[in-house]
């Protein structure tokens, strides 16, 4: 039997590295390396549409960004889009979860209905809404508004309505996630705490505010984090529904970076935009995670 010092520990370490290193190295290769490349590109003048313009641009792209109204538009839209949809998802998801909690028999069918939006491809969801739901004259929404006598709207063609529409689409698709997670969390709450509160003469609203909410807070925070990440990088649904338009009225930063890089072929500037989006995402997630850590317990 080995008398080598720490034979057992070394063995464990070797075993662990054999298991872990392949994934780690692969990820390093396909995420970190490209990011470095991206950062490099953002410092270049690289336009595939005008290949004669090339060379080091330094921070030129970023300076240009600061003066680009389309950039600020996309930033504002990103903020609006993300915050609206996440807030809506939580509010609606929580309310529905609380409601459904009280009808145990309906829960099975609710779960099935809730799964459907989540499993669909976002691009198909955008497609559905564009054609079947929001299309003027034939879409579902149009039928309803006409039946209610509220008239006819061009949901995706009107700049303001388009933004509302894409927010609605994203919310429609992802609220079930919040709903399911919160429903499951609520179901795990111990009933005796509520019984004690009832004996202490707390009414339904007080019980909700002082007991339910604090107890499900970790789940809510996690949902917020996950949904925010998804909203910041939402692409396919908007792309399918409006393409970023009309004009730039639904062009969140994500889409702006994409369009700049692949439609206008200005890779250098597009890379810079992507870097900014990356920075924002990292900042937001860091803040949210810190808040989660502080708030837990």
């Amino acid at each position: 039997m080995g008398l080598n010092k720490s034979n057992v520990e070394d063995q464990e370490r070797r075993f662990a590295l054999i298991l872990f290193l392949p994934s780690f190295l692969l990820l390093l290769l396909i995420t970190t390396a490209p990011l470095v490349f991206l950062a490099w590109n953002s410092l270049q003048k690289l336009d595939l549409g005008m290949p004669w313009i090339s060379g080091f641009a330094g921070f030129g792209n970023y300076v240009k960004m600061g003066e680009d109204p389309r950039f600020w538009n996309s930033l504002g839209l990103t903020f609006l889009y993300t915050s609206s949809t996440v807030v809506l998802q939580i509010l609606i998801g929580l309310s529905l979860a609380l409601l459904v909690l009280q009808i145990p028999r309906g829960q099975a069918i609710m779960r099935i209905a809730a799964i459907l939006p989540i499993v669909l491809a976002p691009v198909v969801v955008g497609l559905f809404w564009r054609t079947l739901v929001l299309a003027p004259d034939f879409g579902l929404v149009d039928l309803v508004t006409r039946a209610l006598g509220l008239g006819n709207y061009n949901w995706l063609g009107d700049p303001q309505l388009a933004l509302i529409s894409v927010i609605a689409i994203h919310t429609w698709q992802w609220t079930p996630f919040a709903f399911l997670v919160l429903l499951a969390t609520l179901a795990t709450l111990p009933p005796d705490v509520f019984e004690a509160a009832r004996l202490d003469r707390a009414n339904a609203w007080q019980r909700f505010w002082h007991i339910t909410l604090p107890l499900i807070r970790p789940a809510i925070v996690m949902v917020i984090i996950l949904r925010t990440m998804t909203a910041l990088s939402a692409f396919a649904a908007i792309f399918a529904a409006t393409g970023g338009g009309p004009g730039t009225s639904t062009e969140i930063l994500n889409l702006y970076a994409y369009r700049t890089s692949f439609t206008e072929l200005n890779i250098g500037y597009g890379s810079a935009l992507a870097i900014v989006l990356l920075a924002i995402t990292m900042l937001v997630s860091w803040t949210l995670f810190r808040h989660r850590r502080k708030g837990s317990t």
Partner: protein, 278 residues
């Protein structure tokens, strides 16, 4: 409001919910069996003579999406397979074993999930183009690992952590050695977790759009891209679009319905214990 009244309202609201969430899919389902003329009828027809012509065209016509289904199948299954092969051992190591920089590497994996895809697709495009790997299966599968792998690892870690450590210790004392302890004792216990992870990885990969549209091409074109093209090409042919969507989404809808308990469990595990793309 009395008890009965409350129950009625609750059921009414739930019914409304079910319809809001399920209706678009059901409506698309219905529409896919209508003729184009019936689709344009107003008020909309609930009762009509169904036709399979849309499906026939979508599957066997000139713009058949069968090759796209094949692309999706190959890419998704390969990505899922490789993801699991890499993620299961990595998650076990992360959850259980002691090695240098374990915590840091754990955070790293979590961080990679936060990357916005648009930031990655630009360098990917340039790199794959230079090596001639655009529009290839291998190229696409490797890129799909970008989002599958960290997510799968993070999900699996929580399942591995749920297994009492003493069981592995008992196996070690029983002279199983680390590899056999993992194979005979640990893996059978996380079977459920692996199933859930597989479902999610498959879903995410099947539904991927941005990477597919930028890095694929004429040969490798998953159904998501095909559907997107449908919009521009088949402008007002709603019925055909509906049929196409049904076919494109059939696998995931089926998976969703069959595995719904697993999915719900996976959502809660992922949400409560941290990380996750969906």
């Amino acid at each position: 409001m009395n008890r009965f009244g409350r129950q009625v309202t609750l059921y009414a609201v739930s019914g409304l919910l079910v319809s809001v969430w399920a209706f678009p899919v059901l409506w698309a389902f219905l529409t896919s069996f209508k003729t184009e003329r019936d689709v344009l009828a107003y008020p909309p027809m609930f009762f009509f003579t169904p036709t399979l012509s849309n499906y026939k065209e979508v599957l066997f016509g000139t713009s058949s999406i069968l090759p796209n289904l094949w692309s999706s199948l190959v890419v998704t299954c390969s990505a899922t397979f490789f993801t699991l092969c890499l993620a299961i051992p990595a998650a076990y190591a992360l959850a259980r074993l002691r090695y240098p920089f374990r915590r840091a590497s754990g955070f790293y994996i979590l961080a990679t999930q936060m990357l916005p895809p648009v930031g990655l697709v630009i360098p990917y495009y340039l790199t794959l183009q230079r090596f001639g790997w655009l529009d290839t299966y291998s190229g696409l599968v490797i890129i799909y690992l970008t989002f599958s792998l960290p997510f799968a690892i993070w999900l699996l870690v929580s399942y591995f952590e749920d297994i009492p450590y003493e069981m592995e210790e008992a196996a070690l004392l029983d002279r199983a050695g680390r590899w056999r302890a993992l194979w005979f004792i640990v893996l059978p216990q996380v079977g459920g977790g692996i199933a859930v992870t597989t479902v999610f990885v498959f879903l995410n990969a099947w539904n991927e759009f941005m990477f597919a549209v930028v890095l694929g091409g004429n040969r490798v074109r998953p159904v998501t891209v095909a559907m997107f093209n449908f919009i521009s090409v088949e402008q007002t042919q709603w019925a055909k679009v509906a049929a196409g969507s049904m076919v494109a989404m059939a696998p995931v809808i089926l998976l969703g319905l069959l595995a719904q308990r697993h999915i719900v469990k996976g959502l809660t595990v992922g949400a409560v214990k941290g990380g996750g793309r969906r």
